[in-house]
Amino acid sequence: MELHSLKYEQDERLMRCFGNLDKAKSEVEFAHKKVRYFKDSLNLNNEFSNSAGLNSVPISDKSVYRKNFPAGILSEGSSLKDPYVSRLQSSGTSGERLVSVIHSFKLAERMANCLSINPAFQYLSKVPRIKTCRYAAPNCSDVECANPRSTMQDRILADGTLVLPVYHDLLTTPDSMLRMAFDELHSYEPDLWYVDPMHLSILIKKAKSEGWAFDLDRKFSVLLTYTFATRALLRQISELCAGHAPVASVMAMSEFGFVGLGCEHGNLHLNDKDYFLEFIQMEGTHPDDNLWELVITSIGDRLCPHIRYQTNDIYHLHGACDCGNSMPRVSFLGRSKDLLRLPSGKYITPGSLDEVVGAPKWIDIYQLTEQEVGAYIFRFTGNKDCFSDAEKSQLRQKLQALLETENVRVDDVNYFPFERGGKFQLIRKS
């Protein structure tokens, strides 16, 4: 592990890096040689060759990969026609939009290295062709799974993944479609449920209320991804799966595929074999706040190398994990656009909010909205018979302390909006 500081124009921010620095530098050199955008923009001077030299390479972001797609960011001689090139689309519609391309072998390698983090999932690396059911926002796939008239065949991707039908605005999905998803999740006999925890929780809840019984005797595992897995969601999922199927959170990005996995202790580890990971202290924070933005450099990507790519994801860094895995142990706190900054300068992340909310029986889903600075609405839904006014007002007090204001309204509701791309924001700004 290296620890050094990086000079920024204004202030000095700490940085922590994990992975093989030499390989990261070779990736930069490769990009400089073979990829038009980096050829034109990088100036690999003397500074680059000394040991901390990666710092001299500018940070890239989504817009670089969006604006230069495809010719400017693909390496010389590669083609989108290659049958082994997978095309992945981010669910975002505005600043988030992006089309990414990854070589299938690279995807598989990254996945295998991530699965090695958790013994319960390692067997999947040996399954010749993992049969996956994906249940997540429709925009994450290229099939029209939001079309109520689509058939199962319409929704099977080239790699054999079945995309279950669902609407973008999850809670408006009609009952008939929930039933279809439930049935297909069984009839397709998947090895892996690759699901948004929010989506799975809705299906669990529906199944419970309708008396549909999940078949838990078949061997399968559950990977949670896409949205922040709150304690309340994990509670609902573990009620179903505990003792039957392993459940872990996976950190995946449409730009890279798998980036990390939760270990047997439920702690997230990020893959520092396939990526060089740089964590940069968030602007305006104290090192004790332990808030880091992740920047990734791919290792050995000969199709579309990512160079110091800003993920916009925020993490806590932790020390070694009891599981013994040496890949860095982190917790994911949310996307930087989902953070709030209080007038005192304190950041509120989905992670810090979730710590305060916890997983009481009476909360299934919740969302915090900042109406304006200093004014918040906390909306939740859950079992209405399970909470007292006292518990509700206790939660309100905790939120008031977290948000440093009296002005917090707590409403119980029946509906939550999802972004048009299908993502759920735990923290919304009006």
Binding site: T93, S94, D169, T172, N414, P417
Partner: protein
């Protein structure tokens, strides 16, 4: 802005500055705006949101994948989410239309009536919530009690006719009274009727809770809720909307079209043919933000003060009489007055405007059956909202009283 210290706006004293029209002078006189039941004033944030569409996003929505169109669509849908959260409904139950009138006509169309179908209406229904039912159904009216509330015994009798629709007005635009909505919609629902509620007047004053009510269709207008005109909503139970037939068809409502068939898109898009008032939706979203940040508790507390000022002022002016209950309970600060012995109130209204800066409305208020029934002619309506002060109400009634002296 001068606001009397001892009659503070329950913490709302700072908001007058948000409403540019209040800074306007007419003939050197500031505006005393008491016509919010017709349309509310708009805060600067709403005006800015409308303008932003033209300065930042201009693009059509839900038509293609370019960046501006995606951003414009995101914001349009964001407005729908805000309506859903405000009214405790789901986004696919929120259909954007032009206004309450269109919303009710659409509900009417969706339901589909024949002349044999009974429709129970209340005497205080606005023409918008009366004519569509009169045109297609067989309307029966609920009698009113002396307090001008619907007579629930009579209502129960009418429900025995097995009406297809019960058309209720949450808050009257004439009397400002709220009906017992929960009780009546439950009775109607249990009698097997569809419940259609006109919430044009209540939506800006009280928290609505669609999903936990027996209401099947709910109609609102943005322009009565601090938002722009040109947009309103029909909020309908998803199952009913799924079965219903749209009033208009055209661009945006179908998944695919062949030479001889088509397949509707899912809710709510099936009901939104053609390019909508995109900029108005942004303004509507900003208006909802504004309402949410004030909060209905404060709005109701403030309105109670305004209603109290109305009642006290009217009570000490013998020439003026009020149509409806003079009680503080269950009412919005909307007061319709008639002047004993004076039937045409147009001149009086003009004088209030031009000599005193008081903007209010006279006529039958699009509720002629009711106004004719009780007032026998026109009324003057003064309606206040969050930006009005007790002083303004007292001044307006003093003004009315002195104008009236010349007519009686």
């Amino acid at each position: 802005m001068s606001i009397c210290e001892d009659k503070k706006l329950e913490g709302l004293d700072s908001i007058r500055g948000d409403f540019p029209v209040l800074a306007r002078e007419v003939d050197g006189r500031t505006v005393n705006y008491l016509d919010s039941a017709a349309t509310t004033l708009k805060p600067q944030s709403v005006i800015d949101a409308v303008t932003r569409y033209y300065t930042e996003f201009t693009a059509n929505i839900h038509r293609g994948r370019h960046r501006l169109s995606e951003e414009a669509s995101d914001r349009y849908e964001e407005a729908r989410y805000k309506v859903a959260l405000l009214t405790n409904s789901a986004s696919n139950e929120v259909i954007f239309v032009r206004n309450t009138t269109e919303a009710i006509n659409l509900a009417n169309h969706c339901i589909g009536l024949t002349k044999d179908d009974f429709v129970v209406c209340c005497l205080d229904n606005h023409h918008s919530h009366f004519l569509p039912w009169l045109r297609h159904g067989n309307v029966v009216l609920v009698e009113q009690t002396e307090e001008m509330q619907p007579d629930l015994e009579h209502f129960a009798e009418l429900l025995k006719l097995k009406p297809k629709v019960v058309a209720l007005t949450h808050c009257s635009n004439v009397t400002g009274n709220y009906i017992p909505l929960d009780v009546m919609s439950k009775m109607a629902h249990e009698a097997g009727a569809l419940v259609v509620v006109d919430a044009a007047q209540s939506a800006a004053h009280r928290k609505l809770n669609f999903s936990e009510s027996y209401i099947d269709f709910l109609a609102i207008s943005s322009h009565k809720m601090l938002g722009p005109s040109g947009i309103g909503c029909l909020i309908g139970k998803a199952d009913l909307l799924r079965d219903g037939e749209p009033m208009l068809v055209g661009g945006g409502v179908v998944d695919y079209v062949t030479a001889d068939s088509y397949q509707y898109r899912k809710l709510p898009h099936k009901y939104e043919a053609g390019t909508p008032a995109i900029e108005a939706s942004y303004g509507f979203g900003a208006a909802i933000d504004y309402l949410e940040s004030i909060g209905f508790d404060r709005i109701e507390a403030h309105e109670k003060q305004l209603s109290k000022a109305f009642i006290e002022s009217i009570n000490n002016k013998p020439n003026l009489a009020c149509l409806g209950q003079m009680s503080l309970e269950n009412r919005a600060p909307i007061f319709s007055l008639y002047v004993k012995g004076v039937s045409d109130l147009s001149d009086i209204c003009r004088a209030l405007s031009d000599s005193y800066g008081v903007m209010c409305r006279n006529g039958h208020l699009c509720a002629q059956p009711l106004v004719d029934h009780y007032a026998g002619g026109q009324v003057i309506r003064m309606s206040a909202y969050i930006y009005n002060t007790v002083d303004e109400i007292e001044a307006a009634l003093e003004a009315l009283n002195s104008v009236v002296q010349s007519y009686v």
